[in-house]
């Protein structure tokens, strides 16, 4: 008996005024009328309020999308690693997991210093009386809710985790299982997930996924989700104990949205990284193919990430995903309003577009191209546009029919605008898309690209100091020039028409500058082009240093010049149809 501490706990909460036993309130509950004038009015008002909130948000959203006309146009954005990461690590809902937790022993040692006031609670946890155990477990859970690391360390130092793991196997009272799972969930959400994974809780939590009590199942799902969100070894522990099958069984029930969210989130955490070969992917995909129809954004986002992880990390994952029939919905989701959904969706599709030609054909047939045209044309975040360009470039790397499909959907126009106006990394993706189309396209298709004005921006790209980008661009130009040679044979004009165009637009100067470029492949390709298509110019310059040897000083100065002159975006890129 410890009345003192009970007093402390009680006094922390505001004393509640006793509720008045009210006949009136109860009478209202006797055969409550379905139609009650006041309640119906409030409901109508609430609906109008919800509508109003949506409209207010939409109005603001619309205004935010409008480009500020007086603000200087964006130049090169600050480096932003987060925006460039395509696949985020698995998320951890209750709190973020550490990047690399120290090994278990070191943790215990580090926490040795702090310990106070816990001994009584610890004694109670180890007592033989279930009521006392429950009381103490609840106290631990409350203690943990402050989320402080110091508290966490003290609890870990008390070495009670195995005890809580043991409580998970107790059938009664049921709230003991519940509370123990709750405590472990919160610890697993901290920096010390590894300890939870190693205390023997995982197999029991997996068992609890089959508990008759829905709340306990939910809690176990949550705990396992937290554990799987941590480093690969934790995730493997969960997978090794066969969590996937009972987790999937959760989805077959009549579940609440909150539970469904947790389960979907946990599933996506389990799918992250490389799933072991013995895990059956098909049943997972069956569930995911249902979840991606959810109206709930959290569920939708997690389900789409899970899908991406499977396409990316499982051998044959792309085909399995296609077999599960996810494509139509995935393409539909491209028009989803939220960037949180759009990102995993488009990343998944990008992964699929990296598959073989027949796999690519599936997404083309599902109508991805008109969606991509929209995404590229409107003011979507850069990361989305990059993925969209990546998909386009994968499609233009395919057959002539596929290139034609891209042209027919009016996608190339937008890609060319991006090539003119966007930031370097996006420009690079656009260059790939055009270059691929140029290298695989028929002569009509190449003429189309040129007629749409792709040459000028491609030439401008040559000024950048990015080796890959410049090389890709040169390849594209080469393909176009080859096409120009064919045209030249038709008539007797001296000049390849495309070479003439490049010359007139200052592209030739850029090409000549590349002779000083600090990369052999670029240098050689540039030289080849100059010699083949503008041979008189090259012969003029034949005495220039033929190799980059000894020209290091020049290399130092060029990049600064080039980098200081980024292209200025056209005032209304979106207006050009």
């Amino acid at each position: 008996q410890s009345p003192t501490r009970a007093y402390l706990a009680a006094s922390a909460a505001m004393p509640r005024v006793p509720r008045r036993p009210s006949d009136e309130a109860r009478r209202g509950a006797y055969k409550p009328p379905g139609v009650d004038a006041a309640r119906s009015r409030r409901r109508r008002e609430d609906r109008l309020l919800a509508l109003r909130r949506r409209n207010r948000d939409a109005g603001l959203f619309k205004r935010r999308r409008e480009e500020p006309s007086l603000t200087p146009a964006p130049v090169v954005p600050p480096p932003d690693a987060a925006a460039d990461a395509t696949a985020p690590p698995p998320s951890s809902e209750p709190s973020s997991p550490p990047s690399s937790p120290p090994p278990a022993d070191a943790l215990r040692a580090a926490a040795d210093a702090e310990l106070e006031g816990l001994s009584e609670m610890v004694d109670k946890v180890w007592s033989d009386d279930t009521a006392t155990q429950l009381e103490a477990t609840v106290q631990f859970r409350k203690l943990l809710s402050d989320g402080k690391n110091s508290t966490m360390i003290k609890i870990i130092r008390a070495d009670v985790l195995p005890r809580f793991a043991e409580f998970l196997s107790r059938q009664r009272p049921p709230q003991l299982q519940m509370e123990a799972a709750w405590v472990l969930t919160n610890i697993a959400a901290s920096d010390y997930t590894l300890l939870v994974a190693e205390c023997g809780a995982v197999p029991r939590l997996v068992e609890l996924l089959e508990s008759p009590d829905a709340n306990i199942r939910h809690q176990a799902t949550w705990a396992l989700g937290n554990i799987a969100a941590d480093m690969p070894s934790c995730r493997e522990t969960v997978l090794d104990h066969g969590a996937v099958t009972p987790l999937l069984a959760q989805f077959k029930e009549d579940m609440k949205v909150s539970v469904l969210r947790t389960a979907t989130w946990a599933l996506s955490n389990l799918c992250f990284g490389k799933l072991p070969a013995e895990i059956q992917v098909k049943p997972i995909l069956e569930i995911i193919s249902l979840l991606i129809h959810s109206a709930d954004e959290k569920i939708l986002a997690d389900a789409c990430w899970a899908l991406y992880y499977i396409c990316d990390g499982v051998e044959g994952g792309i085909q399995d995903a296609l077999d599960a029939g996810v494509c139509p919905q995935l393409v539909k989701l491209l028009m989803h309003a939220s960037a949180n959904i759009l990102l995993p969706v488009i990343t998944s599709l990008a992964r699929i577009s990296a598959g073989d030609d027949t796999q690519v054909q599936v997404i083309v047939e599902q109508g991805i191209l008109p969606c991509l045209a929209q995404l590229l044309a409107r003011n979507y975040p850069k990361i989305i546009k990059k993925q969209a360009c990546l998909i386009v470039s994968n499609i233009t790397a395919g057959s002539k029919d596929q290139i034609q499909a891209v042209i027919d959907a009016d996608v190339m126009n937008h890609v060319i605008v991006l090539l003119k106006t966007s930031e370097t990394d996006l420009k690079k993706e656009a260059a790939w898309a055009i270059s691929n189309a140029a290298s695989g396209g028929s002569s009509d298709q190449i003429q189309y690209l040129v007629s749409r004005g792709c040459l000028e921006p491609l030439c401008n790209v040559l000024k950048y100091q990015d080796v890959d980008l410049v090389y890709t661009c040169l390849e594209g130009l080469q393909n176009i020039l080859v096409e120009g040679e064919i045209g030249k044979q038709g008539n007797e004009s001296v000049m390849n028409p495309y070479a003439q165009f490049i010359l007139e637009n200052g592209g030739l100067d850029n090409l000549e500058e590349l002779q000083d470029f600090d990369n052999d492949a670029v240098y050689k390709l540039a030289m080849t082009l100059l010699e083949r298509y503008w041979d008189e110019e090259v012969s003029d310059d034949a005495n220039l240093p033929a190799s980059k040897d000894g020209s290091a000083e020049n290399v130092e100065t060029v990049p600064e010049d080039a980098a200081a002159q980024p292209p200025v975006p056209a005032p209304s890129a979106d207006g050009t149809e």
Partner: protein, 886 residues
């Protein structure tokens, strides 16, 4: 005797004769005498408050005075210290505290002296006044000797003093909050109260007063209930009091048990067996007033466990302070039979009496709560009772069986219930038509409604209860029952309401569509019944019509369109009625409210679909005309309904709504000025926002008037606080609509926003309600900032906002440091950061860089789990990167 006291004494004597007479006159049957007396009292109070209070307390304290004048004196004293409206209350508090200390001491002494009076009503009135004064003074650390002097009374021999003192202690606990009283004094109060409750107390008046006092004192007993010995003692005394020979004491003791069940749920485990025995005995054998309280104990335990289990199954972010002890589950085998017994004790015609409350009703309500608490476990305990009784000849059995079945439909799983309902449905449908007893039919219709409410709808994964085969039969029965007596017809409407609601997500084809015309027709006929005023039948018919319309699909839109002129004609008719009595006017207002509500639903339905919008808007002129005439009738509810309907119409009509503005504006202003009926004001503020979005810059001509009124509303301390956050949001709506034209309001609106922001950033909320309000306020302020910033975007006058930028950033930083904002505030706040960068561009770059909001806060939002927060943060990040690098 000091000079000062002498002075008051003389004064008192000179006034007292008059006062008695005036107080008696104030209760005269003659209206003019009464009015005159009331005037004199009011004048006295205004001209000489100290003298007034002293005279009244002297009157109350003087045993020779007539009982009637003493009681009224006490009542007026009480009213001079407290009022319902908060601002009036504060005023009275301040006035009392500002009084001369000598006067206050005199008044208090006279009041305490009255506690020993032989006249019971004088004692009782005095104890209430003492408690009011304690409520003002004790939180200010004044009157420290009060509790001590009351406690010394307890040892008096005369029972009347003891009784009055205990009563005073009880009122005191009701008026004063527990934090204001030392634990030491709490202990003494509880000791005195519990001693007074003890069986050894011979005087039952004293014991009753003590028991009632404990009820109020329970909130002070946190510490004592945490101490096992003290708690055991209190619980024993309360339980013993439930066995008192005095029925009032037994009832008061059970009221204490009920209060304990909700306040100290987690301390009850060891007493539950005993409490069950006591309550069961009372339910089965005691007088109804006692039995009802005993029943209430179990309902209250259900409430607690439902709350706890809800928290368990919610997102787990909310911490449940108390674990569930599953008392109901444990008591189930004994509890359910007890409740079922009570169901058979119905009174005749209880369904027709709105105020009826008896043991059968309480038992039924409790059974429903038990079902929600334990779910599936209740089903096998109730079904045998249902099966045994549902066909018996005596109507009480059939009704009880039906009620029992109806009450377990919420709580147990659909899997468990669906097979039972499939069997029962046909029986219920035929009982609704054929049972000879109205009471049985009423409960049957209610049960059908519950079936449709809980076991029908697209959210369920079990096999549907309503199929293509039985749908027509169900409708036939319900429409027929709508012609039955009003109470049965009302329940039939309720059943139809939930039937329609279940098809809200039915997509393009609802199974109700083939019957839609019949349904609408029957509901209109029902609303026109002569007796539709009984059992709220008319309301039920219209609200059901609303739900049927709301859940209808495009295929029945033509029928809804036909409804428009019908409802408009009805509204027109209400406006043509001649001179009406008060009663008739009230009925007319009710009907107008219902009709405006119905039009609102129709507007949203037809105005929200492209296929019907154009045709529907042909009615807009006439409809607006009717609404404007409705505003001429003074009734708050009708105004609310008409305003809501107009808001909906503005959305449907868009900028063409402008043509109504000239006429509508006066009513808009009237709504904004309605401090008294603040809901009308709140709804009107919302409608201003709707109009801004519909009219955009066409609202400009009305903005001077609207802004003036909104600013007045904000500065008023009479207006209910809940209206203020929407007013701030409304600033944002206006700014977004009129853009840089908002310039002239900046000098008024910005300081108000700033001071409200400071207040809301530095409020430490003491309870959930306060925190909730603070967050609403923050949200409103932030929405205003977003609207203003975005409104000025791309304007040459952008720089006018520059001076306000530092404060806005400070506000965001303060919110971030405060750590108590909710997700929706977080979303709005980080959006404002983006708007600031977006509108002010490079100029704001350095400021933004200095604020912590642009770093930690933004990072936190970027990694938020809430997609809306994250979306807002993504936008802010892009806007900032442009501003900072620009």
């Amino acid at each position: 005797m000091s000079y000062l006291t002498l002075l008051f004494w003389a004064y008192r004597v000179s006034m007292s004769l008059d006062v008695t007479q005036i107080l008696l006159s104030a209760q005269s049957a003659d209206g003019s005498i009464r009015k005159h007396a009331e005037e004199s009292l009011k004048q006295f109070q205004e001209q000489n408050l100290p003298g007034f209070l002293l005279s009244l307390s002297t009157e109350l304290a003087t045993n020779e005075k007539p009982e009637e004048s003493r009681r009224l004196a006490g009542l007026i004293l009480k009213n001079a210290l407290d009022a319902k409206e908060q601002h009036r209350k504060n005023e009275l508090f301040q006035r009392w505290l500002a009084l001369d200390a000598g006067v206050k001491a005199q008044v208090k002494a006279l009041l305490l002296q009255t506690l020993s009076s032989p006249v019971a009503s004088a004692r009782s009135t005095s104890s209430q006044v003492i408690a009011k004064i304690a409520g003002i003074e004790i939180p200010q650390k004044q009157w420290p000797e009060l509790i001590g002097s009351l406690l010394s009374n307890i040892h008096q021999v005369q029972p009347n003093v003891k009784q009055a003192t205990l009563e005073t202690l009880g009122y005191l606990c009701e008026e004063v909050s527990p934090e204001a009283v030392d634990q030491d004094q709490v202990n003494k109060i509880l000791t005195a109260v519990v001693q007074g409750m003890n069986a050894s107390e011979g005087n039952s008046e004293v014991r009753l007063a003590a028991t009632r006092a404990l009820y109020n004192a329970l909130g002070f007993a946190q510490v004592n209930f945490s101490n096992d010995m003290e708690r055991d003692y209190i619980m024993r005394v309360v339980c013993e009091a439930t066995q008192s020979p005095d029925v009032k004491i037994r009832q008061a003791a059970f009221e204490c048990l009920v209060a304990i069940s909700s306040t100290y749920y987690d301390k009850l485990a060891t007493y539950m067996q005993d409490i069950f025995n006591i309550t069961a005995k009372a339910v089965r054998g005691d007088e109804e007033s006692v039995a009802l309280q005993a029943m209430e104990f179990w309902s209250s335990i259900c409430d607690e466990e439902i709350d706890i289990l809800d928290e368990y199954s919610s997102e787990f972010t909310a911490d449940s302070d108390v674990p569930c002890y599953y008392f109901i589950k444990q008591a189930l085998p004994a509890l359910v039979p007890m409740l079922l017994e009570t169901l058979l004790k119905q009174e005749d015609d209880q369904d027709l009496d709105e105020g009826a409350w008896n043991l059968a009703m309480a038992g039924g309500t409790c059974l429903g709560l038990v079902a929600r608490t334990v779910g599936d476990d209740i089903v096998p305990l109730v079904m045998p009772f249902v099966e045994e009784n549902i066909t018996k000849p005596e109507w009480r059995h059939r009704e009880a069986a039906t009620y029992a079945f109806g009450s377990i439909l919420e709580g147990p799983s659909a899997d468990k219930l669906t097979p039972l309902v499939n069997v029962a449905l046909n029986f219920m449908l035929s009982a609704l038509v054929k049972d000879p007893n109205n009471h049985v039919k009423d409960t049957t219709a209610w049960t059908l409604g519950r079936i449709f409410e809980f076991l029908h709808g697209s959210a369920l994964e079990t096999a549907p209860v309503i199929t293509a085969e039985n749908c027509q039969q169900i409708l036939t029965v319900l429409l027929q029952s709508m012609k039955d007596v009003p109470n049965v017809a009302e329940k039939a409407c309720g059943a139809l309401y939930f039937l329609a609601q279940g098809y809200v997500d039915a997509g393009s084809a609802s199974p109700l569509s083939p019957f839609f015309q019949d349904i609408v027709q029957s509901l209109l006929v029902t609303s026109h019944r002569e007796d539709a005023g009984e059992s709220r039948l008319r309301t039920a018919a219209y609200e059901t019509l609303n739900e049927v319309v709301r859940c209808s699909t495009e295929e029945t839109a033509p029928i809804v369109m036909q409804l428009v002129p019908v409802i408009m004609m009805e509204l027109h008719n209400t406006l043509e009625a001649g001179k009406l009595s008060t009663d008739e006017r009230e009925k007319r207002s009710d009907l107008q409210g219902l009709l405006c509500g119905c039009l609102q639903v129709i507007i949203q339905k037809l105005g929200g679909m492209e296929s019907t919008k154009f045709a529907f808007l042909q009615y807009a002129d006439q409809m607006m005309d009717l609404f404007l005439r409705v505003f001429a009738c003074r009734n708050a509810t009708v105004h609310e309904e008409a305003m809501l309907a107009i808001g909906a119409l503005a959305y449907a009509a868009g900028s063409s709504f402008a043509k109504y503005m000239a006429q509508f504006y006066q009513y808009l202003e009237m709504g904004l000025q309605n401090f008294e009926e603040y809901q009308v004001c709140a709804i009107t503020v919302g409608v201003v926002g709707d109009l801004c979005r519909a009219l955009e810059d066409k609202i400009l001509p009305y903005c001077d008037g609207i802004m003036t009124q909104l600013l007045k509303d904000l500065s008023s301390n009479q207006l209910h606080r809940s209206v203020k956050p929407p007013i701030f949001s409304c600033f944002g709506d206006i700014a977004l609509a009129i853009g840089e034209n908002f310039e002239k309001y900046l000098i008024y609106a910005m300081p108000m926003l700033q001071s409200a922001a400071d207040l809301s950033a530095h409020t430490t909320a003491t309870d959930d309600e306060m925190l909730d309000y603070t967050n609403q306020l923050r949200n409103g302020i932030l929405e205003a900032y977003s609207g203003i910033l975005q409104g000025f975007k791309s304007s040459p006058k952008t720089q006018l906002l520059m001076p306000y930028a530092p404060h806005i950033l400070q506000f965001l930083d303060a919110l971030h440091n405060g750590k108590d904002m909710d997700d929706s505030v977080m979303k709005t706040a980080i959006g404002v950061l983006g708007d600031l960068a977006d509108t002010l561009g490079v100029n704001a770059g350095p400021l933004i860089n200095q604020s912590t909001s642009s770093k930690q806060f933004l990072d936190e939002c970027l990694s938020s789990d809430d997609p809306l927060v994250k979306e807002s943060a993504d936008w802010a990040r892009i806007a900032i990167s442009r501003a900072v690098s620009g």
